[in-house]
């Protein structure tokens, strides 16, 4: 990706020379005019905004900005692993943002080329994006992301086990890339090709699980990748559209685990007077997958009062598995009261999952103010798999398992919905509807009940009432109300939506040209009164946002948002020896974020931003997370800005105090704008 970055930096150098006829420094003529009759002062403010924006104008062939600097971290006080799991920002030189646009008034290779790159220089998330298009000829997109996934949360492991502190941890990267090309965009027939790649690599600590007797933390090497190729053609006409797409994927996973030394695992007691030990382990997965899939999308507008929609999606992913494992130490097969010093395991298997999805619907407008939307959807997949593994214990040569095991998972999901929307005048819209969901699933039965394999079946039946209202009392004031209530005869899982109601209310008010307020409230209530379940779930969320940007002063703007959310859940479960217990989960959270932008008086118009966010939660995992920030931007010239930022991160958990951290992060650098 260094080459890619270099390419991005060099592209402007190879860009065409500016056309002297069109180059001018006056950007104000290109200020986008408001589509509505906005106040004159607001329209006048636009050019000032644009002077700092990389927005291209008709007179500039190249516009862009680059933002780079250096970041310092104070010593991280507290838990470094937690810091990396939550934040993971590092010190050093950074290219925080690169963004440019090329336009070619002569429309030779492209009409317009937009490129951007963010977070380069060791940050945990690097992105690069390129769009190039030429009207009627092509539309090209390239996207790349590299996101670090570090996770070593101490409370997630077994904190009292001798070697357990780093269990279930990962230090990996996930990289994804998309390359897409549309040919003849805007024409009636548009062929397209897309390639996606997603891969993961890194290290971690997982467990070698020895027959439920002990588990030993071992180092893992994680490597997987998936390539997706697809191509198709879109037929776009005034009366109808059809998209035909054919695609395929390939997948591979070559994870490995190894250990060499002496590990006693998580077990802290002897087993029948013996100490279990792992001395050596080599574990290797060789998983390969592929899939061919098809996609047909269609829309039609046969009459002025009717629209039709439909899609058919089919995929058939397949997986083949090869697995080898050799382990040495002192192990046990407790059901045979056998102790042995080594084992070899070979595993193989295959899985096949035909997956079909269909969706049909129409919208009819029998009256000028009425719309009726009917849709039907089905989704079904049948996963057939066969696994075979054999383990040999050494030196006793006891074959612990060598029976092929068929696994079967079949899911049929169906949904039908009708909505009636009615505009009761120009200011009020009403909506009512009904949704029926039904399906069935056959899944492998628990090994506890069916050691030799088996399956169990479940059903899903749900009736849902839908209602909504939209009030637009004026262009400045609007309300939105939504309700959804469902009752279920059957559900798949104890925690699934059963008898539930969802409600949401939202209001927006533009108090003045510079001041807007938004408020929102929503609630979800879900009950499953079955005596062995007794689920009682309720979540509420209320939020308020205030946005103030006085156009006249241009000295200050304020954004403030506050959110209050609560979750209360109780459900019966079975504890030790089937003792009835109740799982109570509580989350009472306050979240606030805001920013005050101040433009300093004086000829240089330096900008100061004060803001940040805080999150305070009480309940089952009481947490405090503070992220205040101060940002200062000083123009050093027409195209150069000196930016500096201080941010503090403070994280604390009441029950897991050993996971807290605090740090200060300071960044300073330059932003060059053209």
């Amino acid at each position: 990706m260094r080459l890619l970055l270099a390419l991005f930096l060099m592209v402007p150098a190879f860009g065409q020379q500016p056309d002297p006829q069109t180059k001018t420094g006056d950007q104000t003529a290109q200020a986008p005019a408001a589509p509505t009759d906005k106040p004159a002062d607001q329209a006048a403010a636009k050019p000032a905004d644009q002077s700092q924006s990389p927005a291209p104008t008709g007179e500039q062939w190249f516009t862009g900005s680059v933002d780079f600097g250096y970041r310092w971290l104070s010593d991280i006080r507290g838990n470094d692993s937690e810091y990396r799991s939550v934040l993971n920002l590092g010190a050093g030189p950074k290219l925080t943002a690169l963004d440019f646009t090329l336009t070619d008034p002569k429309h030779r290779l492209f009409d317009r080329l937009d490129a951007s790159a963010y977070g380069w220089g060791g940050d945990p998330y690097n992105t690069a994006h390129l769009d190039a298009r030429k009207q009627g000829d092509y539309d090209f997109v390239f996207d790349y992301r590299n996101i670090a996934y570090f996770d070593a949360v101490p409370s997630y492991a077994n904190p009292i086990a001798p070697g357990g502190f780093n269990e279930q941890s990962f230090d990996t990267h996930r990289r994804s890339m998309t390359i897409g090309l549309d040919l003849r965009p805007g024409k009636h027939i548009v062929p397209y090709l897309v390639f996606d790649r997603n891969s993961g690599y890194g290290n971690g600590v997982d467990e070698f699980v020895q027959d439920s007797n002990d588990e030993f933390p071992v180092q893992t090497l994680l490597r997987d990748s998936a390539n997706n190729y697809r191509g198709g053609v879109r037929f776009e006409y005034n009366r109808f559209h059809i998209t035909l797409e054919q695609g395929g994927t390939t997948y591979k996973d070559d994870d490995q685990a190894s250990y060499n030394g002496t590990s006693y695992g998580d077990r802290t007691s002897l087993l029948l007077g013996e100490t279990l030990v792992l001395n050596k382990l080599n574990q290797a997965y060789g998983i390969r997958g592929n899939s061919i899939y098809s996609k047909v999308l269609a829309t039609a507008h046969p009459f002025s009062w009717m629209d039709l929609y439909g899609q058919f999606l089919y995929s058939e992913p397949k997986t083949t598995v090869h697995f080898t494992e050799t382990a040495a130490g002192n192990f046990s097969l407790i059901n045979q009261l056998l102790f042995y010093t080594g084992e070899q395991t070979l595993g193989t298997g295959a899985a096949n999952q035909p997956h079909t999805t269909g969706n049909l619907g129409f919208e009819i407008r029998p009256l000028k103010r009425m719309r009726i939307i009917e849709s039907w959807m089905t989704d079904r997949y049948h996963d057939a798999a066969m696994g075979f593994d054999s383990s040999v214990s050494l030196p006793t040569n006891i074959l612990s398992a060598a029976v092929p095991l068929n696994q079967f998972l079949a899911v049929n999901y169906n949904q039908e919905q009708v909505d009636v929307l009615y505009d009761l005048g120009s200011k009020v819209s009403l909506r009512g509807g009904y949704r029926y969901i039904w399906g069935d699933a056959t899944v492998p039965e628990s090994p506890f009940f069916a050691p030799g394999g088996g399956s169990e079946s479940g059903q899903l039946k749900r009736n849902v009432a839908l209602a909504g209202a939209n009030f637009r009392l004026s262009q400045k004031l609007s309300f939105n109300l939504d309700y959804e209530g469902g009752t279920s005869d059957h559900v798949y899982f104890r925690t699934s939506l059963n008898n539930y109601q969802k409600g949401r209310a939202r209001a927006k008010y533009q108090l003045s040209a510079s001041l807007a307020v938004q408020a929102k409230f929503q609630v979800l209530d879900n009950q499953n009164p079955a005596s062995t379940i007794n689920l009682d779930f309720r979540s509420q969320d209320s939020s308020l946002g205030i946005y103030w940007a006085p156009a006249k002063s241009k000295r200050i703007s304020v954004m403030a948002e506050y959110d209050r959310s609560t979750v209360r859940s109780s459900i019966n479960y079975l504890g030790l020896f089937f003792t009835p217990e109740v799982s109570d989960y509580r989350d009472n959270a306050h979240t606030a974020s805001g920013a005050i932008d101040l433009t300093m008086p004086g000829p240089v118009a330096a900008k100061l931003t004060l803001g940040g966010s805080l999150f305070l939660a009480n309940g089952s995992r009481a947490t405090r997370y503070y992220q205040p920030l101060v940002r200062f931007s000083l123009p050093l010239g027409k195209h150069v800005f000196w930016n500096s930022q201080w941010q503090y991160y403070g994280f604390r958990e009441d029950q897991y105090v050993f996971e807290g951290f605090q740090t200060h992060i300071i960044m300073t650098g330059l932003k060059l704008v053209r």
């Binding site: 963010y118 409370s155 998936a226 997706n228 079975l574």
Partner: protein, 325 residues
Amino acid sequence: MGLLSPPARFPRAARWVFIMMAAVLGSATYGGAQEKPGAPAPPAPDNKPAQYVGSDTCQACHEDIFNAFQKNPHHAVEADKKRGFDGKACESCHGPGSKHADSMSAADIRQPAKLRPAEADKICLVCHLNQPTHVGRINSSHAKNQVACVACHSIHKNGPNGLVARKAADINQLCAKCHTDVWASFQRPYKHRLPEGAMSCVDCHNPHGSVLPRMMQTVSANEPGCFKCHGDMAGPFIYEHAPVRLDGCMACHMPHGSSNPRMLTRQNVLLVCLECHSNLPGKPTNGTLGSVGPAIHDLSSPRFQNCTNCHQKVHGSNVSRDLFK
């Protein structure tokens, strides 16, 4: 109990009543109800219909908009005969402008920004209806909640974002304007990397609608969009963990953000697992899938309190039926 009373149980036949009513209403009013969006604006009091005058006429007074529009993607309408508005791009949305040109009154021209959302959308859909992005529109809660196209898309604007936000940070800001509660979730410690600008809302959601609930994106035709990045959890596995397939990732995770590590729905793994794995011994009598609770383990020991320490392939295993490896 909820704030609202439980809904009445709909008889199963009710949906067919709706369909029949729709069909009757449709046939009874066939063809007579709708004004074609591209048709002339409503007739003026003098009953003389307005005529198309061409974009050049608009330029005379609205030169700033006209000039900016030359670089706008919608300028294609001006030159492309495909849609039938060549030379009349302004009037493709605003309707015939002869009366407005004569009177210079705002009342004599169609102003999409002041129309009902459904009416405003109809103007956009004259060209954009028959495109793949709108296949899911019928299932889109945006469309059903009267969120007009112009709520997200600028029509005249010309800039790095074109007609809609393109950069991740800009997209997130746009969505957060309405979905303030969701954005608040991203301020929690365990979340996807949206506030950092590494991801955007549209990586997971299709704002135009999707065949999946919550307008989720799809990948490989009909798989949930989560698997675009988490391909190692897509399977199919030899030994599936049924909730992953049946209820999806959100059965255990809160993808917008959580106080709990790994965005889990509960404060520790144990309760995430036990709330499902707690049917009584024998075949479950309450109709739900799932196995008996792990009463064979000493749940009071920290060793057994993180189920995934042993059942580490909780998303599905290719080797172990117990999801050990």
